[in-house]
Symmetry: C2
Subunit: 252 residues, 2 copies
DNA sequence: CGAAGTCTTGACTAGACTCAAGTTGGGTGG
DNA sequence: CCACCCAACTTGAGTCTAGTCAAGACTTCG
């Protein structure tokens, strides 16, 4: 099992980011060094801090913590469109140079890293591998979005929830954030899970209980324990292909 | 009204594509010429032709017709994730150089244009504006996907349908494919609309009738007539911001 | 200890799905 | 030119998943 995941990086969040990025495309040692030097570590921001897109679209990376993109509709309802886990780019607005089009919130104490837009574009010129890796990271985010669309379009509540947990399990595994007992931190309230899954808070609660009752997962205090990963995977027809860049093996 | 849309291009589909692309980022005359020369016009492919991702990820553009990305789940259910209209890139797999990860079908007789991968990357080196425009096109596709996620997550059936029609109205307007009477071709069956909107065929049918009964739209023979665009817009809280690259004006 | 936010439970409602049976319309072949 | 066929569309009836409303219990945390 661990063969797929390869050895997680050390504990330093910047190294984790570099490790993640290099998985998309091999990075020369000099490219890594240049990135290391370019990243400015930000302060620890508290939970529920809103981060607005700025007119200067610097490259922002989530080093530690948790964040999510969301949008609101006039009626006060909220949809979370993307979950940002440590090692992810916070958003890809910098690729187009246009003002970041999206706003996001932290849901846990978080630290961001930042690379000045100008400096980043110099880096990509010097090291095209960095650009290729970044584009692949963006493509993966698109693939994740597509998969979430599929969840909302044709999976039931329990399948959606199971699929999300599988997805997070995989992504956090790659980032080295899953414990040996298949547990990880999930700093989201049930209301937030609902906003991400297109379900009401109450229904998320009941659905979680169904999974708990069958002893598939445990969830308490913002920490998930997966007791039966195989069941979860089957239930939600989870196929990690979209998270690896490999060819999809979906459908027949 | 027409100020927003600017004069649509002539009738040639390649010109339409160039016109669309230039809306994302101004293109020098030489860049346009180079693109014109690089595009190879493909044959007319019949409806329901599946196009698989190839190992050589050439740049493929839909010149005329209609196509959609879809994925299937084991239970035979289908989700359409993206609608491709004339002037759109068929998919953005070429950006990462990896084998196109997505398959799509035509739903109408369609013509694709193709640029060899190698030639395209030479073009983007010579004319960075082409790369910028392409990245912005990709960003718009992401934004469209996010908006569809919102539809599935928190809009009702009638709102989803109305929103989709508004979106298509806008996109096809930019492509110069909407008639003066606010009508356009929509070569999708009700089953396909359902697969795009996360609704059953039967429910799509009933929902369409609700819109017809209130005389908001007409839909027959693959052609939509919008009678009350304002109502549609309000009903679905449609905000074209995400289709223009402008700052979102959503929520308050 | 109180307060606020989160989680849990119950009862009722409703929007959307399924199944099943027509109906329409365009296209083909005799 | 008509008969037939198939796919798409339409309608009805019954069911069910998930939403809403409302109240109560559990946790932090100041």
């Amino acid at each position: 099992m661990t063969s797929v995941l390869s050895a997680p990086p050390g504990t330093d969040p910047v190294e984790r980011f570099l490790h993640r990025l290099a998985k998309f495309e091999p990075l020369e040692a000099e490219a890594r060094d240049a990135l290391r030097r370019a990243i400015v570590r930000g302060p620890l921001v508290p939970p529920y801090q809103e981060v607005h897109g700025e007119s200067v679209p610097d490259v922002v990376v989530l080093l530690s913590g948790w964040a999510c993109h969301f949008q609101m509709l006039g009626n006060g309802k909220r949809q979370i469109s993307t979950l940002v886990v440590p090692g992810d780019f916070a958003d890809f607005g910098f690729l187009t140079g246009s003002a970041a089009d999206i706003q996001y919130v932290t849901t846990a104490p978080s630290q961001f890293g930042r690379i000045r837009a100008r400096q980043f574009s110099e880096l990509t010129e010097q090291f095209p591998s960095i650009m290729r890796a970044t584009l692949k990271a963006a493509a993966m985010e698109t693939a994740i979005g597509r998969e979430r669309l599929i969840s909302l379009g044709l999976r039931t509540a329990i399948e959606r929830l199971a699929h999300l947990i599988c997805e997070l399990w995989w992504r956090l595994s790659v980032a080295g954030l899953v414990g040996p007992d298949n547990s990880f931190h999930l700093p989201m309230t049930q209301a937030e899970l609902g906003a991400a899954l297109g379900l009401s808070t109450v229904h998320v609660n009941r659905t979680l209980q169904a999974l708990r009752r069958r002893d598939i997962i445990g969830l308490q205090g913002g920490k998930v324990h997966i007791h039966d990963l195989k069941y979860l995977t089957t239930l939600s027809s989870f196929d990690a292909g979209y998270l690896t860049g490999a060819a999809p093996s979906r459908a027949t």
